[in-house]
């Protein structure tokens, strides 16, 4: 009495062809649209996630501008700028990579993904150098935090060490969570690179490249905001 084989057969008839189409979608278009909407919604939740920290930043920067300005000056602006350029370059290679996948240029895709990975790792490396410098300067919040150098360097403004610590807390929380997203991105792109080398992506199926690209661009954009907010608060010479 079991009619399920027949049902499954009928089910299969409704299944258009293509190895990458999952069973519950009726067309590749539907599958792509679902993935795309899902990724955009996810990025929306990411904005809210970072939004909490941006709110805290806004309030404390208004309250403790002197400490924020002094803390900002203690960051290495050269490394910060280089890192910004590195990330923008990585976004370019990602965008070109999506195009390469759409055009079916598989070799180019592999090269571009590889470049993206290198840029991403370079960013993380430079970030590590910057953090290490902060560690040397005792600027990491906690028991050994010391803002004495800021007080010495900027005698013309009043600096409360506790408020300087709030600046560095936000600096580490924001750049730390951004770096965590970068690390996830590197993992994601390693996966994409592996499957690109096996030739899985082409004009018929490039959704993962596109979705990975959206994520990468988002993490990039977060940095585009973090860089001026953290590094460029007040760089004019103190009068």
């Amino acid at each position: 009495m079991s009619d399920s084989p027949a049902a499954l057969e009928r089910h299969d008839q409704h299944r258009p062809h293509g190895p990458e189409l999952l069973h519950h979608f009726s067309s590749a278009q539907q599958q792509r649209d679902a993935a795309s909407l899902g990724m955009w919604l996810f990025l929306g939740t990411e904005i809210m996630f970072f939004g909490g920290m941006f709110l805290a930043y806004l309030i404390y920067r208004l309250w403790y501008f002197n400490e924020f300005a002094a803390g900002s000056r203690s960051l290495d602006i050269t490394l910060g700028t280089v890192n910004t350029i590195v990330l923008i370059c990585s976004s370019l290679t990602v965008a070109l990579g999506v195009r390469a996948a759409q055009m079916g240029k598989r070799k180019l895709l592999v090269i571009l993904l590889l470049l993206t990975l290198i840029f991403g790792l370079a960013f993380l490396g430079i970030k590590g150098v910057e953090w290490y410098a902060k560690y040397k300067e005792h600027h990491i919040p906690g028991a050994s935090f010391d803002a004495g150098d800021l007080i010495r360097d900027y005698p013309q403004i009043h600096i409360d060490p506790a408020h300087a610590q709030i600046y560095f807390s936000l600096y580490f929380a924001m750049t730390g969570l951004h770096a965590l997203h970068m690390i996830i991105g590197v993992g994601l792109f390693t996966y994409l690179l592996y499957h690109s080398m096996k030739g899985r992506y082409g004009p018929e199926y490039y959704t993962p490249i596109e979705m990975g690209g959206l994520y990468w661009h988002f993490v990039d954009v977060v940095w585009i905001y973090l860089f001026p907010l953290l590094y460029l608060i007040d760089r004019k010479p103190l009068g």
């Binding site: 009495m1 409704h14 069973h23 539907q30 805290a56 309030i59 610590q165 709030i166 807390s169």
Partner: protein, 545 residues
């Protein structure tokens, strides 16, 4: 019915595969719904156990059952378990998971593997929470208020924070799955204005989950960082601002109330339409009121902070905005009532829960207006009036909706009928027990009994004894359905495909549905709740006592 008993059971999602692996690695939304059902039931009884201990302590004025510190942990863990591990996932993760694809004529949710991932995240969070409970617990109150939670509490704040952080991700993924599914997976002909109101309410819920939960996540993360590394972000002695914490926390946690109540309203619309055999009065208004609640819900959070030291002007604005939430809520209540008007009403178990919901939600909602008024709020802040108010919404509203929905769709989920007379009996017990537990708390609060104390002046004892007595009755009402649902899975009468004669695609497939939901993909050519075109159910079901 006789033939249904003789013929061997059709293949369906329950019997297509067997074994523990077929459950733990399933990507079928219906099986994942059952995984959630089992896990949230477990946490419901854990949270209920804490509640009973609280009520037992409050039986006498003296603090004689537990120490003050233990009492603080009891109400904290009652709140955290019930809110984050039962109420938030309850209807969406169980009934929503099961029904959203069925109701819109889809084969599954858009991302079945992410759906399974969300259950695993929930389990990881739950195990962490259990570990936290068993090794000492937390005493901050479910709200994690700073600087107590970050600088003073000697309990496992970090572990509880991380557990709730992970549970939040599970909630986000469920919401994301629903929004994408509702946008992209509807059957041909299932237009937005033909969607069941269950779907509209779940859509609104998912939007809140997507926009609110990440803010809770970052807030808890900052609390954890602050506690571990002494950042000072929320510590006033170091220039931090505890009010910032409260703003961030309530930006999620007020809308979270609507994550709990909107799905109960979703159930309500389906049940009321079915058992009055009418199209929902003002379909578009009910649909849009869900969206309005989701939107307004994000604009009222600071009414939790009227006595926290926010400026009078912002308090006035938040007070006025809070009144606004009453409008879409009232639209729903009036439209359900108008649907019943001249309807042919059947008093089945789900319908009894629906009646209970309307009455109790109305009381909870109206007392919410008391609290939105600045003068009264200052008077009753941190008293049992607040406790009674939000339990009328969350237990009287959300849990009633959940139980009603579980009864309504149980034939579809399990393929069996639950014993109707026992169902009605349990519904009655729940209603009586609930009111006996929480109505005295309104009076206690108005008389000035503060919340979160383990002892109280003797003049409050009579009402507290009533409340504790009620809670034991309520407990019986909750255990009963669990017992007879389990019983019915083996011994219950085999259910028809559509035992209630209900509208909706989920009733057009078999009970229980096949793995891919529909043998033939449905095409929709009718409006929702077309009860004028659907025959009433067979007599044996509707007349049965």
């Amino acid at each position: 019915m006789a033939t249904a008993v003789i013929t061997p059971e059709r293949e369906n999602y329950l019997n297509q595969e067997y074994g523990i692996k077929s459950w733990l690695l399933t990507v079928d939304h219906k099986r994942i719904a059952l995984l959630y059902l089992v896990s949230i039931t477990f946490f419901f009884f854990i949270g209920g156990f804490f509640a009973l201990l609280i009520r037992l302590e409050l039986l006498t004025p003296a603090g004689d059952l537990v120490q003050a510190d233990t009492y603080n942990k009891l109400f904290t863990m009652h709140g955290q378990v019930m809110i984050f591990f039962f109420l938030i996932p309850s209807i969406p993760a169980v009934l929503g998971n099961f029904l959203v694809p069925l109701m819109i004529g889809a084969k599954d949710l858009a991302f079945p593997r992410i759906n399974l991932l969300s259950w695993y995240l929930y389990i990881i969070a739950g195990v962490l929470m259990l570990h936290c409970i068993c090794t000492g617990g937390v005493d901050t109150g479910w709200t994690f208020y700073t600087p107590f939670s970050t600088a003073f509490s000697n309990t496992k704040v970090v572990e509880a924070g991380v557990a709730i952080f992970i549970a939040g991700f599970s909630s986000i993924l469920t919401g994301l799955n629903f929004v994408v599914t509702i946008h992209r997976m509807r059957a041909p002909g299932m237009t937005w204005s033909r969607l069941p109101l269950f779907i509209w309410a779940h859509y609104a819920t998912s939007i809140i989950q997507l926009l609110g939960t990440p803010v809770l996540a970052i807030t808890l993360l900052l609390v954890v960082f602050e506690r571990l590394f002494h950042l000072g972000i929320f510590d006033p002695t170091r220039g931090g601002d505890p009010l910032l914490f409260q703003h961030l926390f309530w930006f999620y946690s007020h809308p979270a109330v609507y994550i709990m109540i909107l799905p109960a309203m979703a159930v309500e619309s389906e049940v009321v339409a079915c058992f009055t055999r009418k199209r929902i009065f003002g379909y578009h208004f009910v649909a849009m009121s869900s969206i309005a609640i989701a939107v307004f819900g994000f604009l009222v959070w600071a009414h939790h902070m009227f006595v926290a030291g926010i400026s009078l002007y912002s308090a006035l604005i938040f007070s006025a905005l809070s009144y606004l939430v009453a409008v879409p809520s009232a639209i729903k209540v009036f439209n359900w009532t108008a649907t019943m008007y001249k309807g042919s009403i059947t008093f089945t178990t789900p319908m009894l829960y629906a009646f209970g919901f309307i009455g109790l939600f109305t009381m909870g909602g109206l007392t919410g207006l008391f609290l939105a008024a600045l003068g009264i709020d200052v008077h009753v802040t941190d008293t049992y009036f607040i406790i009674a108010h939000f339990h009328y919404i969350m237990v009287g509203g959300a849990v009633m909706g959940y139980l009603g929905g579980l009864h309504f769709w149980w034939p579809k989920i399990s393929g069996r009928m639950y014993p109707e007379w026992l169902g009605k009996f349990a519904a009655l017990i729940v209603f009586l027990g609930f009111n006996l537990t929480f109505f005295p708390q309104f009076i206690l609060g108005y008389m000035g009994m503060p919340r979160r104390y383990w002892q109280y002046p003797p003049e409050f004892q009579v009402l507290n004894v009533l409340s504790t007595a009620g809670s034991t009755i309520l407990a019986v009402g909750y255990v009963l359905p669990m017992v007879y649902f389990l019983w019915s899975m083996r011994y219950g009468k085999i259910a028809d495909d559509n035992p209630w004669g209900a509208a909706g695609l989920e009733w057009q497939t078999t009970s229980p549905p096949p793995t891919f939901n529909f043998d033939v993909p449905p095409v929709v050519t009718w409006e929702a709740y077309n009860y004028d075109q659907i025959p009433a159910p067979a007599e044996e079901v509707s007349v049965e006592r």
